[in-house]
Assembly symmetry: C2
C-alpha cells in the first residue's frame, strides 16, 4: 500500500530533503537519487530504495509501478506526493518523475577483482562532484572494473555526483581509500599504473597499455603530488595545442580510457 | 585611481551580482568572470573588464596589478572590495582573487575562417553550461577553430559556462546560429560534417577525417533530430561497453576530437 504525503513537515520528506547535505548523509548512511532512468538502472542492478517518492501523474507508468512493487517487496515505503514536494526534494524546477532514498554502499580494495577488467580508473583528491559522476559514467562505457578514489575526494553519494553518473554509481564499483593502501593493494598483483602528468613528453597514444591498466588522474587544480608520479609505472600526457595547460579531469580520463580500450579491441 | 567599495547596496556591486541571471546579462550585454587565471587569460587575449573587483589581500599581486593597470588604461573601473562582497559576487564561499564584468562578444558564421583549423566543434541544443564550458576548454586544447552553437543552446556567458571554460571562452571563437544558417554556411566551402549518433555501426576510429572536420554533438538527453543526421556526411559512434547508451556530451566530443587530432598529427 502506497501512502499519500502532502506536507513539507512530514518527517520522511524532511529526511529526504536533508540528504542533499553531506552531514545528513554521513549520519544516516543514506543518499538521494532522482529520475526514472537512474532509479530503474539501480533496480536492474539490484539496488532498491528504502523510500520512493512519486506523484499521481506518473503513478501508472509501468516503470514506476515496477519500482513501487520492488520497494514494497523489499520492505521499503512508496510515497505518493505532490509535484511541489518532489521539486523541493530535487532542488530543480522540473524534477524527475521519481526520487529514491537509498542506503549507501561501497566496496573495499579487497572486494575488487583486478582480473574483472583491463581498465580501472583512479582519481586522486577529486573535488568536483560532476567530474566524479562523469568519470563513473565513462567507466561504465569503457567497461572499467571500478573507480578508485584516493585521498580526500568529493562524496560519490552527493546529489550532483549521482546525477552526473546517470546511474553508473549503481553499476560501477567505487572504492575510497588512502594512497598507501592503494599502492600496497596494487603491487600485490599485476597492474600498470599510468599517471596523467604535465611533466612528461610521452604522448598517451605512444604507449602500450598492459592489462590491467590503472589510469590515475590527479586533483583538478594541482594534479597529483610529486611523490605519486614516482610510484607510477608510466607517465603520459595528452597533447595540448592551445593556451591552457590542462583538460577537465573527467575529459582527460575519458580520452585516456578510450585509447586503452581501442588498444584492447585491436 | 582605484575606489574602495564596501556596501552591498553599491550600484556597481548590485549590477555585477545581477549578472548571474540571464535576464540581466541580456539587458546589459555584460557578463561576469572569476579568478586570476581566467581574467589573466582574458587580458592576454585582449579582453579587459569594464569593472574589476579585488580585495586588499591580493591588491599587490603582480597579476592583479597588471589587471588593474589594463582596466584603468581602457577606461574601466578597478574596485577594491571586501572578501564578503567578493564572495557574494562569486556565489562561492571561497571566491577567486578577482571578479570582472565584461562586455559580451561573439562572432557570426561569416567571421569564421574555416581554413584556420582542421577541427571545429558543433553543439546542437546544448543545455548544460558546464558542458558548454568544458567543450570550449577542449576546443582550446585540440586547437579547434571554434565552437558553433546550433539552435536553443545554453548561454555561453553564464557564470557556470565561463567557469568551466577555464578562460577558453576568451580564446575560442563562439558562434550562435540556427541549423539552416549553419548548413548553408558549411556547404559554401569545404567541410566534413561528422555527427555522433547511436544509429550507426561505424566506429569513430574507423573513419578518415577530412579537414576541416566539423564534429556535431546533439542535445544531452535526446541527441540530434533525425533530419540533422541526414545532413551529415558521416555518422559515427563511440563504443559503449556498459549498461548506458551514451557518454556525457562534453566527454563524447573530446573523445572524438582527440581522434581527429591524432589523425592530423600522423
Amino acid at each position: 500500500m502506497t501512502r499519500l504525503v502532502t506536507a513539507y513537515s512530514n518527517p520522511l520528506v524532511k529526511h529526504a530533503r536533508n540528504l542533499r547535505e553531506k552531514r545528513h548523509r554521513r549520519e544516516s548512511g543514506q543518499f538521494l537519487a532522482e529520475g526514472l532512468r537512474i532509479l530503474t538502472e539501480a533496480r536492474e542492478s539490484g539496488r532498491v530504495p528504502r523510500l520512493l517518492f512519486f506523484t499521481g501523474a506518473t503513478a501508472a507508468h509501468p516503470l514506476v509501478v515496477r519500482l513501487i512493487d520492488a520497494v514494497e517487496a523489499a520492505g521499503g515505503e512508496a510515497l505518493e506526493t505532490t509535484p511541489d514536494i518532489l521539486s523541493k526534494l530535487s532542488g530543480k524546477d522540473n524534477p524527475g518523475a521519481v526520487m529514491g532514498v537509498y542506503d549507501e554502499f561501497g566496496a573495499t580494495l579487497d572486494d575488487l577483482d583486478r582480473d574483472a577488467s583491463g581498465i580501472w580508473l583512479v582519481a586522486e583528491r577529486l573535488r568536483d562532484p560532476g567530474n566524479l559522476g562523469t568519470m563513473l559514467r565513462t567507466g561504465d562505457a569503457v567497461g572499467a572494473g571500478g573507480l578508485i578514489l584516493v585521498g580526500d575526494c568529493v562524496d560519490p553519494f552527493s546529489v550532483e555526483a549521482v546525477r552526473a553518473s546517470m546511474g553508473a554509481l549503481f553499476t560501477v564499483p567505487v572504492v575510497r581509500c588512502e594512497w598507501d593502501a592503494f599502492l600496497e593493494w596494487l603491487r600485490g598483483g599485476p597492474g600498470q599504473l599510468v599517471g596523467l602528468s604535465l611533466d612528461t613528453e610521452r604522448d598517451y597514444r605512444a604507449v602500450d597499455y598492459a592489462a590491467p591498466t590503472f589510469l590515475l588522474t590527479g586533483n583538478e587544480a594541482q594534479g597529483m603530488p610529486e611523490g605519486y608520479a614516482e610510484a607510477c609505472d608510466l607517465l603520459v600526457k595528452i597533447p595540448m595545442l592551445g593556451r591552457a595547460d590542462s583538460l577537465n579531469a573527467a575529459v582527460a580520463t575519458a580520452v585516456m580510457a578510450y585509447e586503452v580500450l581501442a588498444q584492447r579491441q585491436k
